[in-house]
Symmetry: C2
């Protein structure tokens, strides 16, 4: 085995030609991704689902199907021999030298939101394939098998990654996506099989780790000029639906002190939620994103208002504390305004911390490439949060220009994408050599 390792070591560090950017000095250096090719693949992928309003490659749509076909072809070209598992995830594998070792999983998703952009998910997906292709071209044989995954339907609720670690409920399968197709029907449409779901699940020990390259979707890296974000963890999330019920009445004939104005109550609550999360140090965020007024007529005092609250933080106890705070504020405002208050949770995700050992490896990799790094939470959800239940996870962020995401204006610069892919590649090589 030693001789084989020695040869592999040579392959890893000797098979890449000297690159001009190293000043022509003859030295051995690790392989690097082909940034031009990676960015070209991203541009090619962006054609699927392109529309005047943005990229529409929502899960199970025609655009999703052709985008997946394109990704599978790239995987084949990278020697990954892709297959579609029963869940509908596209999984490619590059065998390692030591079959007894768990595999290293890398990847992301290529489905988009409605009127989205070309970077969210795409960068990590094309980046993971590029790493496999670079390894193949560099003739690097890893000790661990490398698995590249394109998870199905991330934007509809991390469906592909969730199904990889747990069985679905009936209501999970019945959920209808923006394409108008349910998860149940979508799985068949993309080449999966409901009957095989259980067999397709993976378990603790299957993976050494899961690494995901992703755009930040926030503006911190862009604003601070840092190259690479090392994700501390994916924030936990609570979604609430809040209803204030008052009494609809004539806007002209009802004196101010006789009103039970649900809109006033909802407005006070919206302001109070904002003040509450900003009143203590921390990176917790809360958002009132949707609000509907009934009857919603210019000359009627609103009788009922329903609104949503999106609360996120890295710490579970922060979520619990603010949930209680919002309930107390709602009750107090209802009492002040003569309305009633009801609040129910509509969605819950627990925080998913990344593995500190993986954070360290990512930092070392970035440093070896001369890139600056920043430790930061991920405010958005990712497939990594699901895989965290069966494997250590790590995430590498690259800058989003202006922090814009889920928009046709989403942009990450080609050089930043190449940097991120190189950090992912070096991290994989380092983990393969030295473990976690």
């Amino acid at each position: 085995m030693r001789r084989r390792e020695f040869l592999a070591g040579l392959a890893a560090f000797g098979a890449v030609p000297e690159l001009p950017e190293f000043g022509g000095i003859a030295r051995r250096h690790p392989p690097q991704v082909n940034g031009d090719r990676l960015n070209r693949h991203l541009a090619e992928l962006s054609a699927f689902g392109k529309s005047p309003g943005g990229t529409n490659r929502v899960a199970y749509s025609e655009a999703d199907l052709v985008g997946r076909k394109y990704a599978a072809e790239l995987m084949r070209a990278a020697g990954l021999d892709p297959r579609i598992d029963a869940i509908g995830n596209i999984v490619g594998r590059r065998e390692g030298r030591e079959p007894s070792l768990p595999s290293i999983l890398i990847g992301s998703h290529i489905d988009s939101v409605t009127n989205g952009g070309n970077y969210d998910g795409d960068v990590g997906s094309m980046g993971a394939i590029e790493i496999a292709q670079t390894l193949a071209e560099s003739m690097v044989m890893l000790r661990h098998s490398l698995e590249v995954v394109i998870f199905q339907n991330e934007e509809g609720g991390t469906v592909g990654s969730k199904l990889m670690v747990q069985p679905p409920t009936d209501s999970d399968l019945d959920r209808v996506m923006r394409s108008g197709i349910s998860v149940r029907d979508g799985i068949g449409r993309i080449g999966g099989s409901l009957a095989g779901l259980a067999a397709a699940r993976r378990k603790a020990g299957d993976f050494l780790c899961y690494l995901e390259l992703h755009i930040e979707q926030g503006g911190i890296l862009d604003r601070t000029g840092v190259n690479i974000g090392i994700v501390e963890g994916i924030v936990g999330l609570r979604w609430f639906e809040v209803t204030f019920t008052g009494f609809a009445n004539h806007a002209g004939t009802t004196p101010m002190n006789q009103r039970k104005d649900a809109m006033l109550a909802a407005a006070k609550f919206t302001v109070a939620v904002n003040q509450a999360v900003r009143s203590v140090p921390g990176r917790q965020v809360a958002t009132v994103g949707r609000l509907t007024v009934s009857p919603g007529t210019v000359n009627i005092v609103p009788g009922e208002v329903t609104l949503t609250v999106d609360l996120r933080d890295l710490k579970a106890e922060t979520l619990v504390r603010f949930t209680k705070r919002f309930e107390a504020l709602g009750k107090q405002i209802a009492a002040e305004t003569g309305t009633t208050f009801a609040m129910r949770a509509t969605s819950t995700n627990e925080p998913a911390p990344t593995d500190p050992r993986l954070r360290r490896r990512i930092a070392q990799s970035a440093e070896s490439l001369g890139l600056t790094t920043l430790l930061m939470p991920s405010g958005a959800g990712h497939d990594a949060q699901e895989i965290a239940r069966i494997a250590p996870i790590g995430m590498i962020f690259v800058p989003s220009v202006g922090g814009v995401s889920h928009s046709p204006n989403e942009l990450t610069r080609p050089g930043d994408i190449t940097n991120g892919a190189n950090v992912l590649l070096q991290t994989v090589l380092m983990l393969d050599r030295s473990g976690l």
Copy 2:
């Protein structure tokens, strides 16, 4: 002429049989309406447009057409010889003894809002017809001619009364009502004629006054147990559309201090508007009745919010003052929240004070009937506000149970309706005898 007046005086006070409620004591007293008949007519009218959700007799609908036919028949039975003027108003006339005098105009409307009740407009319309019928049965001949009017389309913006005093603009005529029919088409549908609008208009001097009996649509009379509201004036109204524009962004990845949250700005503005109108003495009211959020998604910081403000007061200067105050508040909140603020007026009605002499006559009439009165503003708009431009106006309010209006739960008790009609009748008799 003296002899004729003397005979008329006899007719006015002597033609009514002694009523049992006067204890059988033989005394002369003024005529009183037939309350049972009046309330029966209201019940019969309520059949037109009845639906499970409430009364739907919106202007120009089938239900409106049959309701108008019913009202015209009642007018014929009351000896009013009704005609439909070019505007589409139903106008009946009872000739007076002195043709040179201006006529006394009484009436209201019978069109309803969507899912409305059976009292708003109906009480004043059936009440006015009842007065004509009582006069006919009592063989009372007034000095002034009495005109009874059922204005077309009050709920769509006091259309019939407005056209009685001013020419329409093209956009007035193009407005499409809840029936799906424009004012332009509606006029033809109900028997009017666009070509005759100018000739149908009335001018200053045509009417001694306009008197309208109406339900309060607020809860003040019901709460205080007072029989009759004497309307001080119809409040002026300003409708505004306010837009806060921020920047839509990811609810998870955008730190609280980096947001340009249009929803937060709108909520602060809603609270500030409420506080502003309550911070000074007065009966001014302001309502945020409609609010729409864009994109309106649970996990996106809202980029734009549009809301309406309905501002009303009896005094024009109060409306001006609060308009300025709202603008200042909006600008201040926009600066605080990193958003932009725009506010535009979408509708304007100037306050329409009632004539103090008419208020006094109404008060005297109520007192003569042993009824309690309260001077109060009308927070709702009425046809009277339009007629105010060419004649002194007076309004008589009767209690709305619970202050509920524009709802199937609208209710005014039969005894209160009869009281109101009797006050209207006595006021007409007094004005006819003694002038304003």
